[in-house]
């Protein structure tokens, strides 16, 4: 019974971990993060094409990056991954669930902005120091990824790096935007490197084979 129950637990969690196994999602997230870091960089050195370039993050860069990134990852998986180890289609949230996720995300974004404002007024937590706060928040998000991926070690390392790069951003960044550029740039490159290593490992474990055949 224990073995069967254990196998059932593993089976229930396995498809979610499968999404992260090839590293493609990490590479996409990392590339998107590099673009975000560049946006902070051009704003930090005063060369942004429009004012408050990075302020468009919640309404333009985040949803746009999600849609484009997901499409790119799915297309790449269809070409490289599914013919090797099979295809999984994930359950999409219902319209009601979508709505509540949106409300939750917006509430979190507004809450984070208000918290940052409050912290800057009462504790002087502003400027480059925000990079450390962001690094800690990102570490928490990466640990959620780690849990979803079945606690793969590379995500735990990325969470630790997030705190490290947040500290570096706070220490080295002359202003808030450049501190953020250091955090996002370094962490994004770490994501790309981690994803590339995962992809290499996956390709080694699952060499290209003729797609499924002789099924029954």
């Amino acid at each position: 019974m224990d073995k069967v129950e254990l196998d059932l637990q593993r089976a229930l969690k396995r498809p979610e971990a499968y999404w992260y196994e090839d590293g493609l999602a990490e590479i996409a997230l990392g590339l998107w993060g590099v673009v975000l870091a560049l946006a902070f960089l051009v704003e930090g050195i005063g060369r942004a094409p429009i004012e408050s370039f990075t302020a468009l993050f919640p309404i333009v860069w985040a949803p746009g990056g999600y849609v484009l990134g997901r499409r790119a990852v799915l297309a790449t998986k269809a070409r490289w991954v599914y013919p090797r180890t099979g295809e999984v289609r994930y359950r999409l949230p219902s319209m009601k669930e979508h709505f509540w996720w949106l409300v939750l995300a917006e509430a979190a974004a507004v809450g984070a902005m208000l918290a940052a404002l409050w912290a800057s007024r009462h504790y002087g937590l502003a400027g480059p120091r925000l990079a450390l706060a962001n690094g800690l928040a990102l570490a928490a998000l990466v640990l959620v990824l780690a849990r979803d991926s079945g606690w793969q070690r590379r995500f735990v390392v990325l969470a630790a790096l997030s705190v490290l790069f947040g500290t570096l951003g706070t220490t080295l960044g002359p202003n808030e935007d450049l501190a953020a550029a250091i955090l996002y740039g370094a962490l994004s490159l770490a994501f790309v490197a981690s994803g590339a290593m995962a992809l290499r490992g996956y390709a080694g474990r699952a060499p290209a084979t003729p797609t499924e055949r002789n099924e029954r």
Binding site: G86, E87, V88, R89, L92, T211, E215, R216
Partner: protein, 103 residues
Amino acid sequence: MSADFRDVVNVDRVLHEPARLVIVGLLYAVESADFLFLQSETGLTKGNLSSHLVKLEESGYVAIEKGYRGKVPHTVCRLSRAGRAALRAYRAQMRQALGALPK
């Protein structure tokens, strides 16, 4: 015989087979998965996996769509509503039946 042990006797025999339980567990969390994914995850042979899928299909727990991807056969499996309910019931039944065992 106590009610808890009668529950074990009346357990769903289709799901009680470990390989079928794992197949249904894999399908439970997703919209659908193809034959190749199920095969690579369960480690079953093609013939063995096929026969378990047939059994699950006959029980109404799994819906199977056969098609082609290009010129290659492609089989997609999804858990039916009845299959989802059956797995939940099986899990609750086994927990209840064996939860009372002394350590």
